[in-house]
């Protein structure tokens, strides 16, 4: 099962390598990983999307907590959350099919952030289901390039 883990870490050199090394060294799986600073100076938030059965997820969380530079680990699957991922897609949009592409972009409430004669670059934000659906729909036009941020997640205030 897929789990999203929110990990607060001390922002020190090597902290990413400690976390990533833990996953690779123990044979755990990383689907996506996102790191960025928080409001507190010197503290970063990592969001890791991973898969495994109950025992493996438990072990991943415990092993993460054991790392000296890890301050807090939350399994977001245990909470009601808002989850979002951003994607940039460069999709073929020849004159004949441009309208069709734009219609899909519109339906998904994406933004067009760059245009050329042959393609459109589209920005979209949403949960994984939406992003997957968008990619599926645009694939038939030909996606030239894709860049995804990986999922970020936040607990809802009303649990």
């Amino acid at each position: 099962m897929r789990h999203t883990l929110s990990i607060l870490v001390e922002n020190e050199p090597g902290v990413l390598s400690r976390v990533a090394g833990l996953f690779s060294g123990r044979g755990f799986n990383i689907e996506s990983l996102n790191v960025a600073p928080t409001l507190e100076e010197g503290v970063s938030l990592m969001t890791i999307s991973t898969t495994g059965d109950e025992l493996i997820i438990e072990q991943i969380i415990k092993q993460l907590r054991k790392l000296v530079t890890v301050i807090k680990v939350v399994d977001m699957n245990e909470h009601k959350t808002v989850q979002r991922e951003m994607v940039l897609l460069k999709v073929n949009a020849e004159d004949s099919r441009r309208a069709e592409v734009l219609r899909i972009v519109d339906i998904f409430r994406c933004k067009v952030v760059d245009v050329s004669g042959n393609d459109l670059t589209v920005e979209s934000t949403g949960d994984q289901g939406k992003i997957t659906a968008l990619i599926q729909l645009l694939t038939r036009f030909g996606i030239k390039e894709i860049a995804r941020t990986g999922v970020v997640s936040m607990k809802r205030s009303m649990q």
Partner: protein, 566 residues
């Protein structure tokens, strides 16, 4: 007054009460060596190879419970300690390794003798640091000692660039450490302790499975009290030997791959298994799905990752083993006299006695009395010392026989590389133990293969008068691998025969140590006695039966019920 980094370094060690450093100098750590003579309270032992330094610091730590310290230079000096660090990491040994590093400005430039030792040791240290600023040096060293010795102990590495050692700063040693992201959970939850005790007192066939954590936590007294007062037999892992007296009627012996018949049978039949400071390692459990099939499991360990890693646990208790056992004691003691509070274990203990009688630990002596059996050597060492010695071992058959045929009565009397299984570990570790306990008899039970891996430390032993006794069970083979080849690879003895060997007696003598050779069983005891009395390092080269196997044996991946017996 401002001090240089090198001076701060040594002041910090002094504040931590460090008396012994095992080390080897090199270009970037000369500033430290330049200051060292001004600190007579710290003795530095010059080793012959940095791996030896790491194992000595480790052996010192195991023999005392204190933090072992080693100091080496950058690049190859640092990488040579990696095996020693990994050894200590696998067995949770408190150790701080200081490595020199090229000046901060050169880091990343592939400078001479530069290596990213922090990157290399990340997966085999509890934590590690690169100090880039001399003002952070004291704080970092304080944290390193704190991390190494608290919670589940382990090795910590501190990388010291040369310019940090020569830069100056005000020296102030922090009195305490608080790391917000590191708070070991030491005291047990009382409800969990009560739940465990309820299980234990209503059990008909309970047993302890005691591990290295009992020794680390100095909990052997608490374990012994509980076992004796609650009438519960004790089996132990290799790492736990010595935590419970090896001559007690409740003692089952070591369990696992080369465990005793009765310990392994007891695991398979018990109804409550109390694991203390152990981690259900594959060498202990054999096939997991058939391990302790009838047992409810209580598991006490300070490291939450050890719990439910390999087996499902009924009552997990995350705590320091000593505090957990003490809490069990406190809950149990007032009830001991209540009639019927504790179920009788008479039938269980009778069954165990029967198993022990049916298949005791044994071997077949040479009927012609011409060939020495390796087990006999270990038995004779026990006979001569009565357990009053520190035994270090190398790895392989020698290690297993030392675990089986010597009886350990006190904690910290067996020093052996359990988790990593590092050949070459025993001799330098024995030197570390000897540095800690100069008046104790320290014996390294070795194989002819293992001993050659760190034999260069004979020079260190002779130089500093560490009269460690090395007893080589010389069978001319890498015996444990040969045993596997015999049993599971149709006796295809590829690359296990030590066709060429040095003359160990002459080798000892050339270093200034003493050498003895024995091949006649009649002379075994006398020669060992003589060797142990010599006031300098000794090699006793014992020519043993060549193709002797370690039994019992549970083949890798098999169930503990499927033991191969003598």
């Amino acid at each position: 007054m401002e001090l240089t980094g090198a001076q701060i370094f040594l002041e910090c060690l002094k504040k931590e009460g460090v008396q012994h450093i095992f080390g080897f100098p090199g270009g970037v750590v000369i500033p430290i060596y330049d200051e060292l003579p001004k600190h007579p309270e710290i003795t530095h032992y010059l080793v012959r190879h940095e791996q030896g330094a790491a194992h000595m610091a480790d052996g010192y730590a195991r023999a005392t419970g204190k933090v072992g310290v080693c100091l080496v230079t950058s690049g190859p000096g640092a990488t040579n300690t990696v095996t020693g660090i990994a050894t200590a990491y696998m067995d949770s040994i408190p150790m701080v390794v200081f490595t020199g590093q090229v000046p901060v400005g050169l880091i990343g430039n592939d400078a001479f003798q530069e290596v990213d030792i922090v990157g290399i040791t990340r997966p085999c240290t509890k934590h590690n640091y690169l100090v880039k600023d001399v003002t952070k040096l004291a704080q970092t060293i304080k944290e390193a000692f704190y991390l190494a010795s608290s919670g589940r102990p382990g090795p910590v590495l501190v990388d010291l660039p040369k310019d940090v050692l020569t830069a100056t700063a005000e020296f102030k040693y922090p009195r305490s450490v608080s790391i917000r992201s590191y708070k070991p959970h030491e005291s047990p939850s009382v409800p969990q302790i009560r739940k465990a005790l309820d299980l234990i007192r209503s059990a008909e066939r309970p047993m302890f499975y005691s591990g290295g954590g009992v020794i680390t936590a100095n909990a052997s007294e608490e374990l012994t009290w509980l076992a004796k007062n609650l009438d519960i037999p004790v089996a132990s892992t290799l790492m736990g030997l010595g935590a419970f007296p090896g001559n007690d009627p409740l003692w089952l012996g070591m369990l696992g791959m080369h465990g005793t018949y009765c310990a392994n049978k007891a695991i398979q039949e018990c109804d409550v298994l109390i694991a203390v400071g152990a981690r259900f390692d594959d060498r202990v459990t054999g096939k997991l799905s058939s391990f302790a099939p009838h047992a409810k499991i209580v598991h006490m360990d300070i490291d939450p990752t050890s719990i439910r890693k390999n087996v499902k646990v009924d009552v997990p208790i995350v705590a320091d083993c000593r505090m957990a056992l003490k809490a069990l004691h406190d809950e149990a003691e007032p009830n001991l006299k209540k009639k019927g509070w504790l179920k009788s274990h008479a039938a269980w203990l009778k069954q165990i006695a029967a198993w022990r009688k049916d298949h005791p630990l044994t071997y077949i002596k040479d009927p012609a009395k011409k060939i020495i059996k390796p087990q006999q050597v270990v038995e004779t060492i026990y006979e001569l010392t009565k357990g009053d010695a520190i035994i270090a071992t190398e790895v392989g058959q020698n290690q297993m026989w030392a675990a089986q045929f010597y009886h350990y009565h006190k904690p910290r009397t067996l020093i052996t590389s359990g988790g990593l299984g590092t050949m070459g570990y025993g001799f330098p570790a024995a030197i570390g133990a000897k540095a800690a306990w100069p008046d104790k008899l320290v014996i390294d039970v070795a194989g002819d293969g293992s001993i050659q891996m760190c034999i260069q430390e004979l020079a260190t032993a002779v130089c500093y008068g560490f009269d460690v006794k090395i007893v080589i069970l010389n069978n001319g083979y890498l015996g444990m691998v040969r045993q596997w080849q015999e049993l599971f690879y149709d006796k295809n003895y590829c690359a296990t025969c030590m066709e060429f060997q040095p003359d160990f007696v002459k080798l000892a003598e050339s270093y200034g140590a003493a050498g003895f050779r024995i091949s006649d069983p009649a002379k075994l005891k006398g020669t060992l006695k003589k060797a142990f009395a010599v006031k300098k390092p000794v090699i006793v080269d014992v020519t043993c039966a060549q193709e002797e196997n370690v039994y019992p044996m549970v083949p890798a991946g098999a169930s503990l019920s499927d033991m191969l017996l003598v």
